[in-house]
């Protein structure tokens, strides 16, 4: 559609929200607004602000600040706009917004990325406001056209209505006039009782394209003259190419060139297969680099050896030392968690074209501004001459915050100026050159008084975090990396003395953000240990938790909901399949969302664990789309279960050993449990839904195993343990 209007409503800091009667009243402050307004004129449509444009047919094009990697943003965020604009969801067409300040709507309008379960949370106020502001301008335009008072007009499903005389005008007819008007100084957002879309289980907007093969991913990008590059990076992490012989590779038909890239070599060919066939015979030598002596097994031992060292306090409530001293009973346990890979179904890929001092990148990413930054650094081209197109992502899970694959495409595009180069990774490259979920060793201690009430919990985590390695600006102090500690601190259990200490041990292996970050391992350790505390004092794990939650009604309500759904049984029983079944429970808040899960399991004669069913109760404040939120819980449970059962990245002599699904198995259809999900809208700030379902599943299953056979699992994956 043509829409030359550039009325940018979303200047930084444009919203100051105050709660008013009947809704939220928002004040705008729009520097430079009137001047830009003069530039807007369009016969057939217009941009109302950085997010909303309406064409003459009434189709709303929405600039998406966040990408779609499966989590449902392309449905949930259009719902925010559609609700306040008062149009049907099908009238809103989401398109991925390019780089730029208008779309940095996170952390006081300073940053933009897709992750941390923040897309709905970050959009909740700005996108509803953008929709409401556009609606207000459409009403004003109709009032002007009809010569009536705007306050007398109503809207419904893409029309402005005049209840006085029954006249109506479509948004498409009003769009170009409306966009010339001054945006309102403030808008009143709908009272939740009037929601037509929000809170409803609406279908995804991307589902049809994802069932007929037409959804376009980074791997699928095509254009005239495109060449495909396949890469081989140093097997030892961060090693460099020292020598290579290109002759044999260049002899293959369909091969154009052999080029060096950072830490590796690329063969450029006319297809993936032509390039890969040549790459496989390419003789290349790498220096062994600083990581050549690194072994993950030795690193694990080192972490474990330090769990009793004093650390930096992430939380220090009460007097843990005194409570331990005075205790009638003290229990302690150590836990160990491995490196994990992301294994998105679509391996890493990126296309770049450098020509005429401009750079265009087509790439899956979880942060478009990081792509611009990477391309600018490599090419020296200024950011305003760098364009980025973001397709659907074939999974993200935190992997695509990194731009290492973008750097490869841009490096090759620089070398082959004027030729678009698409870099595609093999599964082996993807698995062996990931930024892994960090390894962790943790030690937990609990103190009980004479009546066996818990008086203290003392946690020590040893390891390294993605904040320190990749985003140190998020660290509140140079010593404390809360990307290792989230999930150990500010817990709901009413235990008077609580300390969580951090001991830093550098990870030579590259680490990154993995779905639910440190909650993925802290949820396991903490909820396993709470279970250990219950059993140490002969308490039912549900009752034990309930007693500690008397002052936290929301956590208690979610726990109780899961207990009701599952019809909780604290003892194992003989089920209809003639196997012994047992249940385990876990409760964990992350990303602003409280999740309780109960898992029902059994073991077969060979000791193979089967998870039959998972009941999952969720309080994310307000559930924008319960259908998508349910899908996210199913997905998060599958992701956590996969890691718990199977996953471990081992590094030998600096190189990752696993390379494909045969030696890094992930959850299969046969291992997927039935899942039942329920929501309680507890109110308050909206929580995230993409990750919060992952942390509780591993402890729920392992706690069930303890109930079944008394075996306590303190390290993962489960396949390393003999369960027979």
């Amino acid at each position: 559609m043509s829409s030359p209007a550039t009325l940018t409503l979303s200047r930084r800091g444009f919203l100051a929200a105050t709660a008013g009667a009947g809704g939220l009243i928002l004040g705008f402050s729009l520097p430079g607004f009137a001047r830009e307004l003069q530039a807007t004129a369009s016969a057939d449509g217009a941009n109302f602000n950085a997010f909303v444009a309406i064409d003459a047919q009434g189709i709303v094009t929405m600039q998406m600040p966040f990408i779609e990697m499966g989590q449902g943003t392309y449905t949930a965020l259009p719902m925010l706009i559609a609700e306040e604009l008062d149009v049907d969801l099908s009238a809103v067409r989401p398109v991925q917004a390019g780089p730029g300040a208008d779309y940095r709507i996170m952390f006081n309008n300073s940053i933009r990325f897709t992750g941390d379960s923040r897309s709905v949370r970050s959009s909740w106020v700005p996108l509803r406001t953008a929709g409401a502001a556009a609606r207000s301008m459409l009403i004003s335009a109709a009032a002007e056209r009809w010569g009536v008072n705007a306050a007398s007009l109503r809207t419904s499903e893409g029309f402005v209505l005049n209840p006085g005389n029954g006249e109506k005008l479509g948004y498409g007819e009003l769009a170009s006039l409306a966009a010339r008007l001054t945006p309102p100084d403030d808008v009143v957002l709908k009272d939740p009782s009037l929601y037509k879309l929000l809170g409803k289980p609406l279908d995804r907007t991307d589902v049809i394209a994802k069932t007929n093969g037409s959804a376009e991913y980074g791997f699928d990008f095509q254009m005239d003259g495109l060449r495909t590059a396949v890469v081989k990076q140093s097997p030892v992490h961060r090693g460099n190419v020292t020598a290579y012989k290109a002759e044999a590779a260049l002899k293959f038909p369909g091969v154009f060139s052999v080029d060096e890239i950072p830490h590796g070599i690329a063969v450029v060919g006319k297809s993936y297969w032509h390039a890969k066939r040549a790459l496989d015979v390419l003789e290349v030598e790498f220096d062994q680099g600083e990581m050549k002596d690194f072994n993950s097994g030795e690193y694990a031992s080192k972490l474990l050896s330090r769990v009793r060292e004093p650390g930096v306090h992430a939380e220090n409530k009460g007097d843990v030392d005194a409570a331990l001293e005075d205790a009638d009973l003290v229990i302690e346990a150590s836990y160990e968690l491995p490196y994990l890979a992301h294994v998105t179904m679509e391996p890493m890929c990126s296309t770049a074209l450098v020509a005429d001092n401009k750079c265009t990148v087509w790439t899956p990413n979880q942060g478009v501004d990081y792509v611009v930054q990477t391309a600018a650094q490599i090419t020296g081209i200024s950011p305003e001459n760098i364009t980025v197109h973001t397709p659907y992502l074939g999974g993200g899970f935190g992997r695509r915050f990194q731009t290492d694959f973008v750097a490869q495409a841009v490096t090759l595009a620089m070398k082959h100026e004027g030729t678009p180069i698409k870099v595609l990774w093999s599964r082996e490259e993807d698995m062996q050159h990931d930024f892994y979920r960090p390894m962790l060793a943790a030690h937990y201690r609990a103190a009980f008084d004479r009546e066996h009430n818990p008086t203290a919990v003392f946690i020590t985590n040893v390891g390294d975090g993605p904040w320190r390695q990749l985003a140190p600006e998020f660290m509140s102090s140079p010593d404390l990396d809360n990307s290792v500690m989230e999930g150990t601190i500010h817990q709901p259990y009413g235990i008077a003395n609580w300390r969580a200490d951090y001991v830093y041990e550098h990870s030579p292996a590259p680490i990154g953000f993995w779905r639910s970050v440190s909650n993925s391992y802290n949820g396991f350790c903490k909820e396993s240990f709470i279970d250990e505390m219950a059993h140490a004092t002969a308490r039912d794990p549900v009752e034990f938790r309930r007693d500690m939650l008397v002052n936290d009604p929301r956590h208690l309500a979610i726990l109780n909901r899961a207990v009701e759904m599952a019809q909780w049984r604290s003892s194992s029983w003989q089920a209809d399949d003639r196997r012994t079944h047992a249940m385990g429970v876990a409760l964990h808040k992350s990303f602003g969302t409280i999740v309780a899960q109960i898992a029902e399991i059994s073991l077969d004669r060979a000791g193979l664990l089967q998870v039959h069913k998972v009941w999952c109760a969720v309080d994310c404040g307000f559930t924008v789309n319960p259908r998508i939120a349910t899908m996210q819980m199913e997905s998060a449970i599958a992701f956590g279960l996969s890691a718990m059962l199977h996953e471990e990245i081992s590094i030998k002599d600096g190189a990752t050993t696993a390379g494909n699904f045969d030696d890094y198995p992930i959850l299969t259809a046969q291992q997927m449990p039935d899942i039942e999900v329920a929501f309680i809208n507890g109110g308050g700030v909206v929580g995230g839904i993409g990750e919060a379902g992952t942390p509780p599943i591993a402890p729920a299953v392992c706690n069930a195993l303890f109930a079944l056979n008394g075996q306590r699992i303190r390290s993962l994956p489960l396949r390393k343990h003999n369960l027979a």
Binding site: G70, R204, Q222, E346, E634, F661, A669
Partner: protein, 155 residues
């Protein structure tokens, strides 16, 4: 030149015999609905039909499909229409990231053709394609729904 029959259309392509069908489809014929996931026939993202049977095209040399009829996700249904499985995939809201779903649907289509009235256990065991988003439960539900709808339509 290799003559291929893809989705009912004849296509002449200059490709080596040993080139996997996946890359012929994607890089030579420009049909990108069929996906690459592992290159070793382990994940099923590349599943297509050859003479109605599901194959993993990343490990299938193109020469194997010569003289046979190849069906991809783009040709599973008549143009502008949905296969009952695609319909069921929409009803049950299966896809998340969506990357593996072409292969899942193609595997399910071949499965239902050989077993039009599967039991719950057969559905569970029938598809071995991997999905990292964990859409397995909805895939099961969609196969169930499609089997029911196909049976009703043919009555």
């Amino acid at each position: 030149m290799t003559n291929l029959n893809i989705n009912g259309k004849s296509l002449q392509l200059d490709v080596e015999d040993e080139m996997p069908l996946l890359w012929v489809l994607r890089d030579m014929a420009g049909m990108t609905g069929t996906k690459f996931g592992c290159g070793k026939g382990l994940c099923g993202a590349c599943t297509v039909h050859i003479d109605g049977r599901a194959v993993r095209s990343c490990v299938t040399p193109v020469s194997f499909s010569r003289g046979k009829s190849i069906t991809t996700i783009e040709g599973l249904a008549e143009p502008g229409q949905n296969h009952p499985l695609q319909e069921a995939w929409i009803i049950e809201q299966v896809p998340q990231c969506g990357y593996c779903q072409s292969g899942q649907i193609m595997a399910a289509a071949a499965f239902l053709k050989s077993n039009p009235d599967p039991s719950e256990e057969e559905i569970k065991d029938g598809i071995t394609n991997l999905c990292r988003c964990g859409t397995y439960l909805r895939i099961r539900a969609a196969i169930r729904t499609a089997a029911k709808n196909i049976a009703e339509q043919s009555v």
